[in-house]
């Protein structure tokens, strides 16, 4: 049965157009071939390669002495990794939450037929055009205790004002949150604004005819219809958070000590500078696991939604 099914199609094609399987028929496949090969090798192949390396005791160079899952065991007994993972939890959680709240509020405010909305929107969104390295450099200067924000407040008369989060191991992760929120919240605003503009106008009119005030209309009708935007924003933001590497490199360089490391920085340091390829690969696989844990349910629900339409 199965072989029949596979053979059926070429036979049919040959019957329809005998001996005229020209170059043109192959063209789509030929032009796609480079991308297909590169994707299979450089994405999926490398993923498997890294998975293999994570189960070896590779140090400075890849070796293929398999040690089972002991690198993962080492990883989760490694204090620096635990710090990085905890930081990701705090950073990611706050970053996503604040961006979503700010994004929704700003989008709703901007949706009130504001004059010069374009200009304001441009200002909210410009940090998204900038590299995280520039963002980190700027905020490093703003947040540094000797010359930055703290000094500004002291000079303004608040002589007892202290703001030393950047050099405080317990608080430094919040500096990452501040800078990242500055960079990405405008983008979330843009997503929600686009969503708001897409809400069915008749629905809103009907609600208002029924006597609903603006607040109720937003709470009951408009915000619930933005659920898909919420989900995609959340997926994108968590993706940004998990991949965050450059912001830490520029803003804190992981310090003080390794108190502001994120998993991406841990992975880079161990793979490229500390000659711990096995351990670094294991950490990369855990990062992949985090992304998949968010992505798979999302894609699943998206695809199911599409099929239902």
């Amino acid at each position: 049965m199965k072989t029949n099914a596979i053979n059926a199609e070429p036979n049919k094609a040959r019957a329809g157009r005998p001996a005229r399987l020209t170059l043109a028929d192959w063209m789509p496949k030929i032009v796609m071939a480079p991308t297909v090969i590169v994707t299979l090798v450089c994405m999926y192949g490398y993923m498997i390669w890294t998975a293999v390396l994570s189960m070896t005791n590779s140090r400075m160079l890849p070796s293929y002495d398999f040690v089972g899952l002991s690198q993962y065991e080492r990883l989760f007994n490694n204090d620096r990794w635990i710090v990085a993972l905890t930081n990701l939890g705090i950073f990611g959680g706050l970053f996503i939450l604040i961006c979503l709240v700010l994004g929704v509020i700003l989008a709703i405010f901007l949706d009130q037929k504001i004059r010069s909305e374009g200009a304001i929107r441009t200002i909210y969104l410009y940090p998204m055009a900038i590299s995280f390295i520039v963002t980190g450099t700027a905020w490093k200067w703003l947040l540094n205790p000797t010359n930055g924000f703290e000094k500004l407040m002291i000079d303004m008369g608040f002589t007892d004002f202290t703001f030393d989060w950047l050099v405080n191991p317990d608080k430094v992760v919040y500096c990452l949150v501040i800078a990242a929120v500055w960079q990405a919240s405008g983008f979330v605003m843009a997503l929600f604004l686009a969503g708001l503009r897409g809400v069915d106008g008749d629905l809103i009119k009907a609600a208002q005819l029924d006597g609903a005030n603006t607040f109720t209309t937003y709470r009951r009708i408009i915000l619930p219809s933005l659920k898909p935007v919420f989900f995609s924003a959340m997926v994108i933001l968590s993706h940004i958070a998990i991949k965050s590497f450059d912001l830490v490199a520029a803003l804190t360089n992981g310090g003080p000590g390794y108190s502001s490391d994120l998993p991406a920085n841990f992975m880079y340091a161990h793979t490229f500078t500390r000659s711990q390829i096995g351990l670094g690969s294991a950490s990369a696989m855990v990062m992949l696991g985090c992304v998949l844990a968010i992505l798979v349910p999302y894609l699943y629900s998206e695809l199911r939604g599409e099929r239902n339409e």
Binding site: V31, M32, T39, P127, S131, G148, A264, Y268
Partner: protein, 295 residues
């Protein structure tokens, strides 16, 4: 009658007050967003002494452009002291070919996936889509080994290759979503008239693709210009992109810290993408939301 009028006057007064408050909130938030950039600009124009004595917001007594020329041509970025200009050039050497190649590939892939479907093309598209999301840490080391074997490790060519490989997923997604809305009859009719694969692409598809080409080019330009991870992992001392050089400049601390030079260099590194954003913000936003909502 007059009672109703009074009520109406009262509500409009409240409404007006609310609107004033709304504008105040919006404008102060805008000020907060602008502040870091303004502080960077002010700081870059002060001299070191003024930075030490003044505060973030104190204006420079006179404008010092020395920090700008130093950042451009003589500041130390790790091992060399030629400013960030050589690395600025590197970035362009990486960005221009990488953007062109990945956009062309994306256009053709999108065209095939939406109009010349073959068995497995949808499955492949799904595989590509997931590729948009993988954390690049998973491919860093194997890619470093591969670049070594290919003999393009630590070169700008190597970085172009990497950016094309991992950019194609996004560019294909953009074009595919755009071509999805093109009526299939257009292509069917052309095929009946005997037009081939490339003729249809050049004559029918390409002429209507301008908006999506602009969106894709801007997206890719911003992504690649702002990249740091690939730059730091795969470049040599003299092939670093500007983001890596900027980070080295800021973290190089021979002698006193020159914040004004840091800030000038940071603004320079940000300028190309900022200019693109200001000139073509509409397309930038469209790329962000298209890549995001649909991705």
């Amino acid at each position: 009658m007059s009672n109703i009028k009074a009520i109406r006057r009262k509500t409009t007064a409240i409404e007006r007050l609310l609107r004033v408050a709304l504008y105040l909130v919006l404008i102060s938030v805008a000020a907060i967003y602008l502040l870091p950039f303004i502080v960077m600009l002010i700081t870059s124009l002060k001299d070191v002494e003024e930075i030490r004595t003044g505060t973030l917001l104190s204006l420079p007594a006179s404008l010092h452009f020395d920090s700008w020329s130093k950042a451009w041509s003589s500041a130390c970025t790790g091992s060399t002291c030629d400013g960030i200009s050589p690395f600025f050039l590197n970035s362009f050497q990486i960005v221009i070919p990488a953007v062109i190649i990945s956009t062309v590939l994306g256009a053709i892939n999108g065209y095939v996936i939406s109009m010349w479907k073959f068995r497995g093309s949808d499955l492949f598209f799904a595989a590509l889509l997931i590729g948009c999301f993988i954390p690049f840490q998973v491919i860093l080391l194997p890619m470093a080994r591969t670049l070594g074997w290919l003999g393009i490790a630590n070169t700008t060519t190597g970085l172009v290759f990497v950016h094309v490989v991992y950019g194609v997923a996004f560019t294909t997604l953009f074009f595919r979503n755009f071509y999805q809305s093109v009526p299939g009859e257009l292509v069917k009719a052309a095929r009946l008239d005997g037009a081939g694969f490339f003729t249809i692409f050049y004559r029918i598809i390409l002429p209507i693709s301008t908006p999506i080409i602009v969106v894709t080019v801007i997206w890719q330009f911003t992504q690649i210009w702002n990249d740091f991870l690939f730059g730091v992992a795969f470049s040599g001392f003299d092939t670093q992109p500007v983001t890596v050089a900027l980070n080295n400049l800021v973290n190089t601390s021979f002698g006193g810290k020159e914040y004004n030079v840091d800030m000038a260099a940071a603004i320079m590194a940000a300028l190309p993408t900022l200019i693109v954003y200001v000139l073509a913000g509409k397309y930038f936003v469209r790329g962000l939301t298209a890549g995001a909502v649909k991705g």
